[in-house]
């Protein structure tokens, strides 16, 4: 049975279309964001939501304008130089009205995965500590460090899967079951570092076959060590694992026709960062992947794709102050 699981998952990857040939069109949707680290498309409306992380808020973009949706998230800092203030991180919609937000603004063990019933367009913004919102934590145990920096959030239909950055010996992806309005319990699920020998799951998305596609960031001081790994969400089994040659994968998303896209922050040399397509390759009886740069980007942090295949990427940028942007990339 396991053999077939490997087959199906690898097929999900291999089903991807051929490498991009066209010249992509890159447009700035909004600017003035502060370390934006998450992006999601709202089902139904198609509105783009952004975790404007250092501003401690989640916003939606309506007609090119920023509208606060959730505000006053706590802010922590990440990195040793450069250092980035971070608050809300990963975003994933459970349905049109319910949004999951991964937190990064508290120390490990205190960070929260929150789930909000979001207001309609034009409504009052919620406070991050909204009483009605679920706020789930993963505390330390006798043997394991508490979890935090919930960078990537993906919804499989019955559970949220969240990449964590607390226990550096295990590299956990955690899971919170979703049944109706009930979310939780929130528990460690997949010890990615034990399964791949590489640190730091960061990007996560759901593949067309339902498996979890995870971008393993590796060490930020080591270029080229990023992995693309597939897991079975039912039991956490590793299905396939590929060296990508990318340095720090921050976002993964499937475009229509199974096209897998990734953003690479490339900490060690951010001039190498950008948007990449990952396609299947098969040579000499070996299955592998082919990674092609679509366009260079200035510190890309997250990616989402709408129903028309437009790609939305958040970038931190290099200017002073709020140099972050939401970009729309089309013609892929």
């Amino acid at each position: 049975m396991k053999k077939i699981r490997v087959i199906t998952s690898v097929f999900a990857l291999l089903a991807m279309s051929t490498i991009v040939q066209a010249e992509p069109k890159v447009e700035t949707v909004v600017e003035g964001l502060s370390v934006p680290c998450g992006v999601a498309i709202q089902p139904g409306t198609g509105h783009v939501f952004v975790a404007d992380s250092a501003a401690g808020r989640v916003v939606r973009i309506v007609d090119g304008k920023i509208e606060n949706v959730i505000v006053d998230f706590p802010i922590d800092k990440y990195g040793k130089g450069p250092t980035y203030p971070i608050g809300p991180l990963g975003l994933a919609f459970i349905d049109e009205k319910v949004l999951a937000v991964g937190g990064g603004g508290y120390p490990d063990a205190k960070d929260k995965l929150r789930v909000y019933n979001i207001p309609a367009t034009g409504g009052d913004a919620l406070n991050a500590d909204e009483d009605d919102a679920a706020a789930l934590e993963i505390p330390a145990t006798d043997k394991l460090a508490g979890e935090g920096n919930f960078y990537g959030v993906a919804f499989t239909g019955d559970a949220l899967f969240v990449t964590c950055n607390g226990d550096d010996t295990k590299g956990w992806i955690s899971r919170a079951g979703v049944k109706g309005a009930k979310v939780g319990p929130f528990m460690r699920a997949i010890a990615t570092k034990e399964l791949t020998e590489v640190d730091a799951p960061v990007a996560i998305t759901v593949a067309p076959d339902g498996s979890l596609a995870v971008g393993q960031m590796g060490e930020i001081s080591l270029p080229g060590d990023g992995l693309l790994t597939f897991y079975d969400p039912k039991d956490g089994a590793k299905l396939a694992n590929f060296e990508t040659g990318l340095s720090d994968i921050t976002g993964l998303a499937y475009a229509p026709k199974g096209k897998l896209l990734a953003t690479d922050f490339a900490w060690a040399d951010t001039s190498e960062g950008g948007l990449f397509q990952i396609a299947a390759k098969y040579t000499k009886k070996k299955q592998s992947i082919e990674v092609t740069k679509v366009t260079g980007l200035d510190k890309p942090t997250a990616i989402a794709v709408d129903a028309e295949g437009n790609v939305y990427v958040t970038v931190i940028g290099s200017g002073e102050g709020a140099s972050g942007k939401l970009l729309k990339i089309s013609n892929l």
């Binding site: 550096d168 640190d199 060690a268």
Partner: protein, 345 residues
Amino acid sequence: MKKLSIHQLAFVIAGLVAGLVFVSEGTNLFAKEKQVVELPLGLEPFKVPADNPLTKAKIELGKQLYFDKRLSSDNTVSCASCHDPNKGWSNDEAFATGVDGQMGGRSAPTIINSAYFPLQFWDGRAKGLEGQALGPIANPIEMNLPIDKAVEKLSEIPGYRKQFKKVFKSDVTADGIAKAIASFERTVLSGDAPYDRFKAGDESALSPAAKRGMDLFFNKAKCSACHKGHSFTDLAFHNIGVGYDKDNPDPGRFAVTNQEGDRGRFKTPPLRDIHTSAPFMHDGSVKTLKEVVEFYNKGGIKNPQLDEEMKPLKLTEEEIADIVIFMKEGLKSKNYPHVDPPELP
């Protein structure tokens, strides 16, 4: 042959249409180039540059160059002087010592399992073993022989000329020297330790103390946050505070990248057969493995770039002793990669 379900068959057909052959359970998706050397139990295949495939003749040439003191300005220092097989492929001293007794400011890192590192030297300034090999030869405080002089010197030795012709189909070149030495260094591998046999199912391979130490290593002591994988290194760079109790601490990887976050970061050393290569740390400042664990137990030495993993561990004396036993016994290879100096041309 087992029959396939409709579901399974659909995927097989889809795969065939796409021109694919599906992998089966256990297939190594990372299968690397064919290895000339046999990998000890527990080690994963390593990458070999496409323009420097391993051959026995090249490895043999590299071994001769590695042990040849004529690659120094005064014929007194070879690679093996500071990376001595009899001393854990290091030199038993805090610093590397070059010609005229000149001392560098960093210890000589072990060659053991250096095949796995994409970036070499404590600060990662060289790409791969080929990028590293010529550095110490030309370095004025190490072997102090400019590379063009090294090429000239070797070219005067018929035995080397003959081997370069055979291996590279060329005269003696700097590129050939680097490739040959790198090829030899790739063969210095340590595996097949009690830890590997334990992982392979032999419950008796580790003593009770080593088992306790292993559990601590991978959990409470958080050693595996950086010393991970088959070679017990993440191949990356970390600031654990070594040297920050002195004036002007070594900037480490910062000198290469100019990124503030890299200040005081040094390469994570591999740990197999680590008991043979004291003293430890990039500056050779820690004499024993017990002192190493004690250093981590107190959370390293505070500084602005100290890794977030570096926190006091609250290990007891017994736990420290168990971790040391795990490293000394559990990671000691059955066949230490000893190499005798070859006959030189």
